[in-house]
């Protein structure tokens, strides 16, 4: 997984979006993606696209997306906020989840609903957070 993230970051560097990354120290215990986003070295959408293309996952833009609040029966809101993920749909036994990162901790969902099949998409972090804010609105 880390290799994929590194490859995606390399893509962004080639596009000239990460000119400052080489001179910035990594913050210990933090995802490199978070460093890039928090320091605004790259925008969420470009990073999500790079991660999606590199990992072979589907990219999904979430602008104006209002998630179905019933899906939070399967994926608790506090887990969604902590892991930067959001449930998008449930068809048969397949729960589709948009993630800001490639490796969210979904053990709480897998333990509680072992028969659910989880499909992970990649979405911009800021759009996930905005969509989560719309849940309670």
């Amino acid at each position: 997984m880390s290799t994929t993230v590194d490859a995606a970051i390399a893509d962004l560097r080639q596009l000239g979006l990460l000119a400052l990354l080489d001179v910035l120290p990594r913050r210990p215990g933090e995802r490199p993606e978070d460093t890039l986003l928090d320091l605004k070295l790259v925008d969420d959408r470009a990073l999500a696209l790079a991660l999606a293309i590199r990992s072979g996952r589907t990219f999904a833009g979430l602008r104006h997306t209002v998630p179905d609040h019933r899906l939070f029966l399967y994926l608790p809101l506090h887990v969604a906020q902590r892991e930067r993920i959001i449930p998008l749909s449930l068809v048969e036994n397949r729960l589709t989840i948009a993630c800001a990162y490639l490796d969210p901790d979904l053990s709480a969902v897998a333990d509680r609903f072992p028969n659910l099949e989880l499909e992970l998409l990649v979405s911009p972090r800021v759009e996930i957070l905005q969509a989560l804010q719309r849940v309670g609105a």
Binding site: L15, I53, A60, G61, F113
Partner: protein, 245 residues
């Protein structure tokens, strides 16, 4: 002289009587002791059984709680699925009505066009519904029949258009195409809605209803093969044009 006191025989009788009573009491005491021992054993047994029953009760309560939780989960899931299925059915019904209305509208327009051209011998239904006759000449209005393949380019699009384009093998090619789109003056806003297996879906906001395919063809450094288009959606294959030497 009379000396007062007890006679030996009387004392011996009294002592014998006392010893007899004492023996009776001892026997009774022994019997009671045995009964107490037996009762204590029974009490111990009952206490052991009570403890076992309490353990079984707590296990049963835990199982009931688990079953209740599983049942609640299952009920929630079932309710959600029923609701989703109902919504899907309603959407399908609405879509069917829309398609039916569109079909009726197309038939109506076909009849109007037929009337306008004065082709009285054109059937109202598609030709395949009626037997063909060799003696009749082929009507000259065959092109009026609905064509499903080879979509005609739409002259003017709505201001909100979905553009499905590809292939883009990497981030660089996708970004380059997006930047090229941004240079088309008729396009006010571009939003990447999705990307999957090399194809991206863009949401384009146009400044006004216009022929955006024509605008893109003249501006973009790509060859655009349009495979499908209507007023709201365009599907095209993107091929970069070779740069002049």
């Amino acid at each position: 002289m009379f000396i007062g006191g007890y006679r030996v025989s009387d004392v011996e009788v009294a002592l014998a009587s006392l010893e007899f009573s004492l023996g009776q009491i001892r026997l009774e005491l022994t019997s009671l002791q045995r009964r107490v021992n037996v009762d204590e054993g029974v009490i111990d047994d009952q206490q052991a059984r009570l403890a076992a029953l309490r353990t079984a009760e707590s296990k049963a309560l835990a199982q009931v709680a688990l079953l209740e939780e599983a049942r609640a989960d299952s009920a929630r899931e079932t309710a959600w699925r029923i609701e989703a299925a109902e919504q899907e059915a309603a959407a399908a019904q609405a879509e069917a009505q829309r398609v039916r209305a569109e079909h009726d509208e197309l038939l109506r327009r076909l009849q109007e066009l037929t009337r306008d051209l004065g082709a009285d011998d054109v059937p109202e239904r598609p030709a395949s519904d009626e037997p063909e006759s060799d003696s009749q000449p082929t009507p000259p209005v065959v092109t009026l029949l609905p064509r499903e393949a080879a979509p005609e380019p739409t002259a003017a699009f709505e201001t909100s258009v979905e553009l499905d384009a590809g292939p883009f093998d990497d981030l660089a090619s996708l970004t380059a195409f997006e930047q090229s789109l941004a240079e088309v003056p008729q396009i006010a806003e571009i939003y990447v809605r999705s990307y999957e297996e090399g194809r991206a879906t863009f949401e384009l906001q146009l400044r006004e209803p216009t022929d955006v395919i024509d605008a893109m063809s003249s501006r973009l450094p790509y060859r655009l093969d349009v495979t499908e288009s209507d007023a709201r959606r365009i599907v095209l294959t993107v091929l970069p044009l070779a740069l002049p030497a």
